[in-house]
């Protein structure tokens, strides 16, 4: 009941801004995790959405290029369904980064769980 009352009092615009801020840091981790399996942009977005993380294309595609530039992903152009598509997958460096970030994420999660 108390939680419901508090929720009703929340400023919607402020909540949306804070929610986006909260999500922003976790998106890189989600993308790296999804790319343990090779995917191209459109199917990656669908996979993220299926797990409850909607992501705009205008954010996802530049992020993929940035991660590739940082050496965490590798990519390859291949023809599929009569069209050339760019497939992304974790590089060995990306796998190590995913493991380190997962550990960090679990630590933060555990700390927040104790506080909340």
């Amino acid at each position: 009941m108390w939680r419901q009352v508090r929720r009703r009092e929340v400023d919607k615009a402020l909540f949306e801004a804070m929610r986006l801020e909260l999500r922003r840091g976790s998106l890189v981790l989600a993308v790296l995790a999804c790319l343990r399996t090779e995917r191209y942009g459109y199917t990656l977005r669908q996979a993220l959405a299926a797990d409850g993380l909607e992501m705009e294309e205008s954010t996802l595609y530049p992020l993929l290029r940035r991660l590739e530039g940082q050496g965490l992903l590798t990519s390859e152009w291949r023809e599929e369904e009569k069209r050339k598509k760019r497939f992304y997958v974790l590089s060995p460096q990306g796998e190590a980064m995913l493991a380190a970030l997962t550990e960090e994420w679990r630590g933060i999660n555990a700390s927040l769980d104790r506080m909340l």
Binding site: S58, Y61, P62, K84, K85, R86
Partner: protein, 375 residues
């Protein structure tokens, strides 16, 4: 041309040439994948309006292209922004102060041109302010783009932080406020002005003295002119005032005396707590003032008034500092000779009071040297 190709062309125009083809190919695949998914859902081909709705969801070409851009996302990033903001605030305050001082000098020099002086001050403030903001933004953008990190950004020291009060209008206002009550209106409780507690008026006095001395020097060297000093109206016509030779003789000593006073004011602002040092410096300055005053009394002839073919000498001296001289002012007429006599008596009294204050200042500073222990 198809709406999708037109959209991609608009995005491509904003992209760096080396990556353009690659990014556009990937975007095209994304858009076509979404179009196909939607067509499959509806069981028919999409109209141009429906395709445009998908492109709207993806974003404006400028925004989409900007996300692919390498380098910083903003002209001034969050790390540099506080420095930019400080520079802008402090610079604008300094420009406003300079323009206000210029306005004051203009108004005193030529009261008839008040409207033009106000307009010039506003123009000066806005053009100076816009130039400052433009220069700061350009410098910040270059630092941001090339990832330049000067040492003052990373290796700052606590002892250098006092200058940051420059961006606080409350501190400027408080430092110029004369009385403690006026200071309290500017300052939050317990705040400091140039390192002094609000109840100490020394810094404010020094600042005002510095400004007044600067204006005097500008007038003394002829950089500015105050109308009414060189000529005034009297019954019977315009009277011109010519300075006596003693002023040419004392030109350099008076200039040096005011500059020395400004130096003491500067030290007061710079090290407000150095009471003994200030006292040591004030004594010779006050003594020099006494000497100049004494030379003026000795000279006697201070100015000559001319009206038509008539002249009258403004004579000052210790004999004018008397009750008889004051009574004579009361009985004086409005002729040229009587006006010269009145001026001589008034200026003699004024000079005597100034010299008395200087003598009192010397005694005060000697007492301070004996009692104040800081340096």
């Amino acid at each position: 041309m198809d709406v999708i190709e037109r959209y991609l062309e608009a995005v491509a125009a904003q992209l760096p040439t080396e990556d353009r083809e690659d990014i556009v190919a990937e975007l095209r695949d994304l858009i076509l994948s979404r179009v196909e998914a939607r067509e499959e859902e509806l069981g028919r081909a999409l109209t141009d309006e429906e395709k445009e709705a998908i492109l709207h969801e993806i974003g404006h070409p400028l925004v989409v292209a900007a996300r692919y851009r390498k380098g910083p996302d903003s002209l001034i990033g969050p790390e540099l922004f506080p420095y930019w903001l400080f520079g802008a605030k402090a610079g604008l305050i300094v420009i406003a102060a300079v323009q206000a001082l210029g306005l004051l000098v203009h108004v005193l020099g030529a009261p008839a041109d008040f409207g033009r002086a106000i307009s010039q001050a506003f123009h000066g403030f806005f053009s100076g302010g816009l130039t400052l903001l433009g220069a700061l933004t350009l410098a910040g953008a270059i630092m941001e783009h090339y990832d330049i990190k000067p040492t003052w950004l990373t290796q700052w020291r606590v002892r250098d932080l006092s200058a940051f009060g420059l961006a606080d209008p409350a501190k400027w206002g408080a430092s110029m406020a004369g009385s403690d009550k006026a200071k309290a209106e500017w300052l939050p409780k317990g705040a400091k002005v140039w390192g002094l507690r609000a109840e100490t008026p020394r810094a404010a006095e020094a600042l005002w003295s510095l400004i007044a001395s600067a204006v005097f020097i500008l007038w003394w060297i002829g950089a500015i002119n105050f109308t009414g000093l060189g000529a005034f109206s009297l019954r019977g016509g315009e009277v011109s005032v010519t300075a006596a030779p003693i002023w040419s003789l004392l030109f350099a000593p008076i200039l040096a005396w005011v500059v020395a006073g400004m130096a003491v004011d500067g030290i007061t602002l710079w090290r407000p707590g150095a009471g003994r040092l200030r006292a040591f410096l004030k004594i010779p300055v006050a003594a020099a003032g006494l000497w100049i005053g004494w030379r003026l009394f000795e000279a006697g002839h201070w100015a000559t008034l001319t009206q038509g073919d008539q002249t009258a000498r403004v004579v000052g001296g210790t004999t004018n500092v008397s009750l008889e001289a004051l009574r004579a002012i009361n009985e004086a007429g409005r002729g040229l000779a009587d006006t010269a006599m009145t001026l001589g008596s008034v200026l003699s009294w004024a000079l005597a009071i100034i010299m008395l204050c200087l003598a009192f200042d010397i005694l005060t500073q000697m007492w301070r040297i004996a009692t104040v222990k800081d340096c």
